[in-house]
């Protein structure tokens, strides 16, 4: 790396994701909790909300290395952050060593680790050899991991998030190759490239793979179908993994790891606050987040229908103020409520 530019962020006990994964049981009497990457949705305001509720490590959405190293508009659209956005893993979609090394050079000063996406099942990415295509290309994936770890050693943490194969031995072989290449930890999503998310996650597969690579001393994070803390414990107990990553569960309830069964109203107030303070989100994206959170809270159906028909952000703010008590930062009780604080004329 050229010394005239910022170097990889210094890793300490506070922000080194591998240290956190390995020590959470001793320091917090529980396994590590991770908010995984969601296409479009793991933007900065949402990441910040998750951090309020016992999430140890948070991922960005997948960023395409090829675009990021070549195009300033892609850089502006894909990644925003700030000093409180840590520990942070930037997830990358990549199909060659050169793009990955260049991406790491640009991004590592502003995050605490890089995760290679080897799970995205979207056809357009798979045809490019990106995402879940990589679990069928172990030579390339291992060479990418090896190139980064050879160049940076322990200065940059590198993770791979994989899906399982139809034949689990193939996944074990892949994991062994990744361990040989120096990967810091592996996240296993318990579905194959073609399994629909409506089908339950295969915890037996995660358990099988975790046991087979136990001797490698590379932590395994289990991912899939974690919707509350009982799922969290069940997944840990069943698979023997070192931690759990939640993704869809957090979209509905970012306070999941805080022990909340449904999204508390306070999380929604925090989300409004961060979204507005960080510069807004595209209206449809903002609406989808609110739709998911309010769905988890059991919002009355006619109000939910009204919500989905709101066409811009200012009307959305008015709709919230008309129907609910939406507290702003600095107001007494901000971010503390659990149930929906309906105004009297909106009560179901």
């Amino acid at each position: 790396m050229s010394s005239k530019y910022p170097q990889a962020r210094i890793l300490t006990k506070k922000n080194d994701p591998l240290h956190i994964i390995k020590t959470r049981k001793a320091t917090h009497q529980r396994a590590v909790t991770i908010a995984g990457p969601m296409v479009r949705y793991s933007k900065l305001p949402f990441r910040q909300v998750c951090r309020h509720y016992n999430v140890d490590i948070v991922y960005t959405p997948m960023i395409l290395a090829r675009e990021y190293v070549r195009n300033c508009h892609a850089r502006m659209a894909d990644f925003s952050s700030n000093e409180s956005d840590s520990p942070l893993i930037v997830q990358v979609g990549v199909n060659n060593v050169t793009d990955l090394l260049r991406f790491v050079e640009m991004v590592s000063p502003y995050c605490d680790g890089i995760g290679i996406n080897c799970g995205c099942p979207i056809k357009e990415q798979v045809r490019e050899g990106i995402g879940s295509a990589l679990i069928y290309n172990p030579e390339l994936l291992s060479s990418m991991v090896s190139a980064v770890k050879t160049k940076y050693g322990d200065k940059v943490r590198l993770e791979t998030k994989i899906r399982i194969h139809d034949n689990w031995d193939q996944t074990v072989d892949l994991c062994n190759q990744l361990c040989d290449a120096g990967v810091d930890w592996i996240t296993i999503h318990g579905r194959t490239r073609t399994t629909r998310s409506s089908e339950p996650v295969n915890l037996d597969a995660i358990k099988f793979i975790t046991q087979k690579i136990k001797s490698r001393n590379v932590p395994v994070i289990a991912n899939g179908d974690c919707f509350d803390m009982s799922d969290f414990q069940k997944i840990l107990d069943y698979t023997g993994a070192d931690g759990v990553m939640a993704v869809r569960g957090l979209l509905d309830n970012p306070a999941l790891f805080g022990g909340f069964k449904a999204c508390p109203w306070g999380a929604l107030e925090l989300f409004w606050h961060y979204t507005m303070e960080f510069g807004g989100l595209p209206h449809q994206l903002l609406l989808h987040h609110l739709h998911c959170m309010l769905g988890s809270m059991g919002l009355e159906k006619s109000l939910h229908n009204e919500l989905m028909n709101i066409k811009d952000t200012s009307h959305l703010i008015d709709w919230f103020d008309y129907n609910f008590v939406l507290k702003r930062f600095g107001e007494q009780g901000f971010a503390e409520a659990t149930d929906i604080p309906y105004k009297s004329h909106s009560k179901p």
Binding site: S2, Y5, P6, L44, R66, V69, R70, C72, R75, M76, A77, F79, S80, S81, N82, E83, S84, N95, N96, V97, T98, D99, R102, E105, M106, V107, P109, Y110, K123, E124, V126, R127, E128, G129, S132, A133, Y136, N137, L140, H165, D166, N167, D169, Q170, R193, W272, Y274, M276, E277, F278, G279, G280, P282, K311, D312, T313, S314, H315, I317, R328
Partner: protein, 180 residues
């Protein structure tokens, strides 16, 4: 100079590769693991062919089955991007709490040549300042900014295309005036 020539030659070779319709291997090729699924699974999973490891140029497969060259990036071009990213952009977009109120948003528009109101993202960024003031119930400030933005937005040529954005600014302006 020499590197550029080599790069051009490599690109030409790559284009010729594409014309030759060389097949890009798939995950189904050389599969050592048997599958319980019928047929040849994972035929659509591309294994990119590296054409030039120094630039990251690769050959991939399009949905039609034809090959496509993804052009590489020379070391010089990457260096230019690094200089732009680290020296001009100062890293990724950095947005701590309070950053939106430290500077007049229209001042940035008038001083930064890359800020062009014809670009949707630029307009959205400006509107997000109004949203913040509206959300914070700072109605007088919000009304002032809406007025200033409206005078700029309404002067644009493609007004019809941004009518919804103009309508929202008018809506906020009216609501702010009523609340003052």
């Amino acid at each position: 100079m020499l590197r550029n020539q080599v790069y051009k030659q490599t690109s030409m070779i790559a284009r010729d590769f594409a014309k030759l319709q060389i097949s890009v291997p798939t995950a189904a090729d050389g599969e050592k693991y048997s599958s319980t699924a019928s047929g040849r699974p994972n035929q659509s999973v591309t294994k990119p062919v590296s054409l030039d490891s120094s630039t990251g140029e690769v050959l991939v497969r399009k949905s039609t089955g034809k090959t496509k060259v993804r052009k590489g990036q020379t070391a010089e071009e990457f260096e230019r991007q690094c200089a732009q990213f680290f020296d001009v952009e100062r890293g990724p977009v950095w947005t701590p709490v309070g950053w939106m109120t430290t500077r007049d948003p229209l001042l940035t528009l008038d001083t930064d040549p890359s800020s062009d109101l014809k670009i949707k993202q630029v307009r959205q960024k400006l509107a997000s300042h109004c949203h913040l003031l509206y959300y914070r119930k700072q109605y007088a400030d919000c009304a002032r900014l809406c007025e200033r933005l409206l005078s700029r937005f309404e002067a644009l040529d493609n007004r019809k295309k941004i009518q919804r954005e103009i309508d929202e600014l008018h809506y906020m302006l009216e609501r702010c005036r009523a609340a003052k």
